[in-house]
């Protein structure tokens, strides 16, 4: 038999037809249930079809059944890694229609809680991404840091994940007396853990080789795909709603918007790590400026439940309570679009009200949906093994993406 190297390349008869491969719907390296149908030539991806919807729960249809306040538990379950940001985003949307502005103390409180949620979101994404590439230790450290964030949130809200803590016109309860001290104690440790994990990863040749120049995207392409958040900023577009269109008190705090240069997977990873530090700065400033006492909720009986003691002792408060629970707070007729910076980007709520106590239509604009929509473009021409880091860096959250 003649040695292989003497055979002309054209003479070798190899199967030339592209191979089809199904990845998912539940692959261990995909945090959400997503199915990717791949057309492969060897290990190169010729075409891919990303199929979502496995976690579709009819969120928008359910919202049309209850009252405005009953939407809060649903929005918690959209991005279940940072439910506080969803809560606040929805509360701001309804407040925009009602013409309410919550007291300063509540705004600072919402910002501090929201940034804590953002830290937990970014830690989960980066940690899980490292784990999927075989680096288990940094994942454990990141999750340890996330536990500290969740401990604070549990202390404040009573729940680790799905808090349902937002209310139209305020929050479910005022900050606990220990809130500031707890945050101030935990934040340095969280950043320390992040730094340690970062050192492990960013000096690791294998890890870097798998991320660098993998699935790059230009800022123009990313914008046209409707990308927002860390993924867009990694592509060099400094669009952060907290800076471009400040809400709450973001225009009064000092923070930077980290941007990447290539828009590759490594940039997306680094932008998230950098944002954790910026979130820390925001939280510290919010804590400094948040008053220790004063009202947290608006004084507006149209939307807020009366004091429990009054409900039990006076007839007016009883009726008010009854009407708010049974009929729901009335939101003026009209439509509005309100957007905030969620963990993954622009989290928008387009709400339509017919003036009754039930939403006519609530449309959520989940940042993930469009980001995952761009995945198949990113994968074209890449290797099979690039899917895992690329998909990880997009941080698809099933609940949010599939509505």
């Amino acid at each position: 038999m003649e040695p292989l190297d003497e055979v002309e390349e054209g003479e070798l008869e190899l199967p030339a037809e592209p191979m089809h491969l199904n990845m998912g719907p539940s692959h261990p390296a995909t945090h959400g249930t997503v199915r990717i149908v791949l057309e492969l030539s060897g290990e190169t991806i010729l075409k891919s079809d990303v199929q979502v919807g496995y976690l579709h729960r009819g969120f928008e249809k359910m919202c049309e059944r209850g009252t405005w306040a009953q939407v809060f538990p649903y929005v918690d379950r959209l991005n279940y890694v940072s439910p506080m940001l969803n809560n606040v985003g929805y509360a701001l949307a309804v407040e925009k229609m009602c013409g309410l502005v919550v007291p300063d103390r509540c705004q600072w409180y919402r910002m501090a809680l929201g940034e804590l949620a953002r830290i937990s979101d970014h830690l989960t994404c980066d940690g899980a991404m490292a784990m999927e590439l075989g680096a288990f230790t940094p994942f454990l450290w990141f999750i340890k840091a996330r536990e500290m964030v969740w401990d604070i949130l549990e202390e404040e809200t009573g729940a680790r994940m799905t808090h349902s803590f937002g209310r139209i016109g305020g929050m479910a309860s005022p900050p606990t007396p220990d809130f500031k001290a707890q945050c101030r104690a935990a934040l340095p440790t969280i950043v320390e853990l992040v730094e340690e994990g970062e050192k492990m990863l960013l000096k690791n040749r294998i890890f870097l080789d798998r991320l660098e120049n993998v699935a790059p995207i230009s800022g123009k392409d990313a914008t046209h795909l409707g990308w927002t958040g860390p993924c867009l900023r990694a592509a060099g577009v400094a669009y952060d709603i907290r800076k471009s269109h400040p809400y709450l008190k973001y225009d009064e705090v000092d923070f930077d918007v980290p941007v990447g240069t290539n828009g590759d997977t490594l940039d997306r990873f680094l932008v998230r790590l950098a944002e954790i530090r910026q979130s820390r700065r925001i939280i510290e400033q919010s804590l400094d400026r948040m008053a220790d006492d004063g009202p947290v909720n608006c004084d507006d009986p149209r939307v807020l439940l009366p004091n429990k003691l009054d409900v039990y002792t006076t007839i007016e408060a009883t009726i008010q309570h009854f009407k708010l629970i049974m009929e729901g707070a009335k939101v003026p007729k009209g439509e509005c679009y309100s957007y905030t910076e969620g963990g993954n980007g622009e989290l928008g709520y387009y709400i339509v009200s017919d003036g009754s106590g039930t939403p006519y239509r609530i449309r959520i604009r989940p940042p993930c949906f469009q980001i995952v929509g761009g995945l198949s473009k990113l994968l074209e021409g890449r290797m099979l093994s690039d899917i895992v880091p690329t998909f990880g860096s997009l941080n698809m959250i099933g609940g949010e993406c599939d509505h």
């Binding site: 199929q51 979502v52 919807g53 579709h56 009819g58 928008e60 249809k61 359910m62 049309e64 059944r65 209850g66 009252t67 925009k96 229609m97 123009k220 392409d221 914008t223 046209h224 795909l225 409707g226 990308w227 927002t228 577009v237 669009y239 471009s244 269109h245 049974m326 009929e327 729901g328 009335k330 009209g334 439509e335 509005c336 679009y337 957007y339 622009e346 928008g348 387009y350 339509v352 017919d354 009754s356 106590g357 039930t358 006519y360 239509r361 449309r363 604009r365 949906f369 469009q370 929509g373 761009g374 473009k377 599939d402 509505h403």
Partner: protein, 198 residues
């Protein structure tokens, strides 16, 4: 915020802009459905508009009205920092002629959004490269976000097990009733009880 955009649209397209308003600071233009793509092309290409980010696309159903379905698009310009909401009203009672031109060729991000609106609300997009269902499964019948689609209806791919098949009593919560969980505050709207059960 971007009254300029509305003025430019009115100057350029005249009667094709049916209505404009700026409630709650959101500038809105309601467009003749036949000019949908032309307006989008203009907003994208014109340097003073430069709407480069497709933010959102959604369908809102008004069963009592004609045309019935309102397709709502939100656009944003990263360079100019302005936003606009475009609307087009399409479809008769049975959603027969609910067709719009696809704008996928203008913004690639519209691909999935248009598929979603097709899947959820039943609006078809002419010229879309790949108009399939996206959130629901291919066997699904109907469009769940049309208000005439009953919320309690189920379409399981595998039929539910009967007690006979299981050989034992199955204690299962039945799905939500027609009016269950509905607050009293709904007025002037078709109530769930008006919707025909299948």
């Amino acid at each position: 915020m971007s009254q300029l955009v509305l003025d430019a649209l009115k100057a350029r397209f005249g009667t094709a802009i049916l209505e404009t308003h700026s409630d709650y600071g959101d500038d809105t233009a309601i467009i003749e459905p036949t000019r949908w793509k032309a307006v989008c092309q203009f907003l994208h290409d014109e340097p003073s508009m430069d709407f480069d980010m497709p933010v959102d696309l959604a369908g809102v159903d008004y069963p009592g009205r004609l045309p019935r379905m309102e397709v709502v698009m939100h656009l944003y310009s990263v360079s100019r920092g302005h936003r606009i909401r475009l609307k087009a009203r399409v479809g008769d009672e049975d959603m027969e002629d609910a067709v719009l031109d696809s704008v996928t060729s203008i913004w690639s991000g519209m691909n999935w959004l248009e598929r979603e609106v097709f899947d959820m609300s039943g609006v078809r997009f002419r010229g879309h490269p790949d108009l399939r269902r996206i959130l629901m499964y291919p066997e699904f019948v109907g469009h769940p976000l049309q208000r005439t689609y009953p919320a309690q209806r189920t379409q399981p791919l595998v039929a539910y097990r009967t007690e006979q098949e299981a050989g034992m009593p199955i204690e299962k919560l039945r799905p939500f009733g027609v009016d269950e969980g509905m607050p009293f505050g709904r007025n002037g709207l078709p109530r769930a009880t008006d919707v025909k059960e299948d």
